[in-house]
């Protein structure tokens, strides 16, 4: 990272005063109501025969995948095999690209998110997303960034301070920024910005969190912090993470899906299943080759 100064501040080095520790403990267990927000708890996400086009080009074909409730599912595969496209299909970000089209069903707790009469905004609120490049809003302070979801989706909350603290604790950023919540979000280091983006996504209490290579722009230390964060999010939300880093997929995920695209053909899922299984005894030889680093 360009800014190593703030990254050196390891959260474990910061010692809490008794009041601060009590506040953290309280915030961790607190239940903050968000009026008009998503229903409570994690959700199961199921893709049935999902296909995606950019213009006339079919880039993803026939993906059947279940992302179980409260688990971490990793999508792995070489570049250009449609992992990110699939991820964007899951919260209706795909349709924002001009010329993009899709087919199949994406079921969120059994309901098709592409059903007529379903608002994309409502779906995106329930299925949060963290992008490859950290993108906090530069015109907002750290606190405003965390609360941006409420403002943008016009939600109300009874205890905003508690929500900020809780979201930042969950994203593993609270101790580093609690004294400067009013400073601009853009002033943080890259790793901190990414965790701020995670906190921002978590603040609306989504049922699912999609992560599109969240660590590819980060250094190893920040990557470890984000991975710890993902680990702590288990059970709170369903996490779907796209990663190029196979060790990372192995470390953080419970389930794994291997995507592949042969030359000039659309991407598809070669194999999916429990992570341990995929990484040790996959059924398909291409999966074995990939996870052992023989290609890709």
């Amino acid at each position: 990272m360009t800014d190593t100064q703030t990254d050196v501040e390891n959260e474990n080095d910061i010692v809490d005063t008794p009041e601060q520790a009590a506040s953290v403990a309280k915030a961790k267990s607190a239940r903050v109501e968000i009026i008009g927000g998503p229903p409570a708890g994690a959700s199961t996400l199921v893709a049935r025969d999902a296909c995606a086009w950019f213009g006339e080009r079919l880039v993803l074909e026939g993906v059947d995948l279940t992302m179980p409730k409260g688990k971490v599912t990793a999508l792995i595969g070489p570049s250009g095999c449609g992992k990110s496209t699939f991820l964007r299909l899951l919260n209706r970000m795909h349709e924002l690209i001009p010329g993009a089209a899709l087919d199949g069903e994406i079921l969120l707790d059994g309901e098709d998110i592409y059903a007529t009469g379903t608002r994309a905004q409502q779906i995106r609120m329930r299925i949060g997303m963290v992008f490859q490049k950290p993108n906090p809003f530069p015109a907002m302070s750290i606190q405003e960034n965390v609360l941006a979801g409420l403002k943008l989706a016009r939600l109300k909350c009874d205890d905003k301070d508690m929500l900020v603290e809780q979201s930042l604790i969950r994203a593993g950023l609270w101790k580093e920024v609690r004294d400067r919540l009013d400073s601009p979000g853009g002033a943080l280091s890259g790793g901190q910005q990414q965790r701020l983006c995670i906190a921002r996504s978590l603040a609306v209490h989504p049922n699912v969190l999609l992560m599109d290579e969240p660590c590819s722009a980060l250094d190893p230390t920040s990557t470890r912090r984000v991975e710890e964060t993902i680990d702590e999010l288990r059970d709170v939300v369903t996490v779907v993470i796209v990663t190029h880093n196979m060790q990372q997929a192995q470390r953080v995920s419970d389930y794994c899906a291997f995507f592949l695209a042969e030359e000039n053909k659309p991407g598809f899922v070669v194999e999916h299943g429990e992570t341990d299984f995929i990484f040790s005894t996959p059924k398909d030889s291409r999966t074995l080759d990939y996870v052992q680093g023989r290609f890709g």
Binding site: V8, E9, L96, R124, P138, G149, L152, G186, A187, V204
Partner: protein, 404 residues
């Protein structure tokens, strides 16, 4: 932050003491005092040589030839001496530097002369009473310091203010349409805006005259006669493309990642523009507005058949002809008496000062005030400059050729 500085401090403390060898810092691109002497020496010898050639050995040569000859000789001498001292590579670099710097100076001279001339001429008639008096009771025999341009200043402020109120919502809407929508009509609209920015400003005035003033000439309704409001409409037409294009550029500089992030949080597109794109581009948009004002404030041609001009104070922009600073300048400088011409120059000076103040305001709002220089990607004027400098010469009074 103390935790972070400690390792660096320790490293500094444990670093080995400097080696006994005396260290002389080397700066390969340094331009030393000696080089300055070479430069001056080359200049003096070139001028002397050309003086001999043009004024002693030949007769009837022009001064212009002397200047050009001196300059070229200077370059040759400077190149030869530098090449002899530090080699051809460095000499080429220095000669090119000198050429570029002198070209910049040549471009700068007319600007300085122009501003200087207006300053000298304008100060003759500019007294504090210029800001508190109109032209009531002024006869041609009175000195130029009597009377003032108070009515023109008020007229300018009212007309430009109204023009801003009329054009800003339209310009913002157009810029948002051009940059945030996915309509297929964006291209035609962009071409139209570009064409509009090339519209001679007198045509804007003529348009208002032909559409709003002339057809209602016999109705006697003061709203559709010569007045400040009609002038503001004409000015709004000239401001609209400037503000639209500048705001559009500023909006384009807002990273797409922020829009995606906002949409992914469950925001609507309209809300994204309002709560994410606008705040991020705030400083640049302020600059765009000030640039638009600065463009309109110096326009004369659109006012000729709309505000018409008036020697007395008329604070009501909706009835009766009104003065404005450019009109004041235009009307006074055409008068035959010296004192009126001097008053015109005073008006020009005040106009220059107003433009200067506006640009100072734009600079003030345009600077990036967020502490983190590295990361904050607030879109500011600094991002704009690269795209817009060539056509934005409004800072100088030598404005885009407007037929006024």
């Amino acid at each position: 932050m103390t935790a972070t500085e400690t390792p660096a401090a320790q490293a500094a403390a444990t670093r080995t003491p400097p080696a006994p060898r005396r260290r002389a810092p080397r700066r390969p691109r340094e331009f030393t005092t000696f080089d300055v002497w070479i430069l001056l020496g080359s200049l003096v010898s070139a001028i002397s040589l050309n003086w001999l050639i043009f004024y002693r050995f030949t007769v009837g040569a022009s001064f212009f030839g002397f200047i050009v000859g001196s300059y070229l000789t200077f370059l040759v001498i400077f190149a030869a001496v530098t090449a002899d001292r530090v080699g051809r590579l460095v000499a080429t670099d220095r000669v090119m530097t000198v050429v570029v710097v002198s070209a910049a100076a040549i471009v700068f001279i007319p600007l300085v002369l122009l501003v200087g001339y207006i300053l000298v001429q304008g100060l003759k008639a500019l007294r504090p009473n210029f800001f508190f008096n109109d032209q009531a009771g002024i006869t041609p025999v009175m000195p130029s310091t009597s009377g003032g341009g108070y009515h023109a200043i008020v007229g300018t402020i009212e007309q430009v203010g109204l023009a801003l109120i009329e054009s800003l919502p339209l310009a913002l809407a157009a810029a948002v349409f051009l940059n945030e929508s996915r309509s297929k009509w964006r291209r035609p609209v962009r071409i139209f805006v570009d064409a509009m920015s090339g519209l001679p400003s007198i045509v804007a005035g003529l348009f208002i005259f032909a559409v709003f003033i002339l057809p209602f000439a016999k109705s006697g309704n003061p709203l559709f006669g010569y007045n400040g409001f009609m002038a503001s409409l004409a000015l709004a037409i000239t401001m609209l493309p400037t503000i639209t294009r500048t705001v559009e550029v500023v909006l384009r500089l807002v990273p797409d990642g922020l829009r995606e992030a906002s949409l992914a949080l469950g925001s609507s597109r309209a809300r994204t523009v309002w709560s994410v794109v606008f705040p991020t581009a705030k400083t640049g948009m302020t600059t765009a507005v000030v640039l638009g004002i600065a463009r309109a404030v110096g326009e004369t041609a659109p006012l000729l058949f709309t505000a018409f001009g008036y020697d007395l104070m008329n604070a009501n922009p909706f009835a009766g002809s009104q003065e404005s600073l450019p009109l004041f300048v235009y009307r006074n400088i055409r008068k035959p008496d010296i004192s009126a011409i001097e008053r015109g120059f005073a008006g020009a000076l005040v106009l220059l000062l107003i433009v200067l103040v506006l640009f100072a305001i734009a600079r003030f709002f345009g600077r990036d005030r967020s502490k983190s220089k590295k990361r904050a990607s607030r879109v500011s004027f600094s991002g704009l400059k690269s795209t817009f400098t060539p056509s934005r010469s409004t800072a100088s009074p030598a404005k885009e050729a407007s037929p006024s």
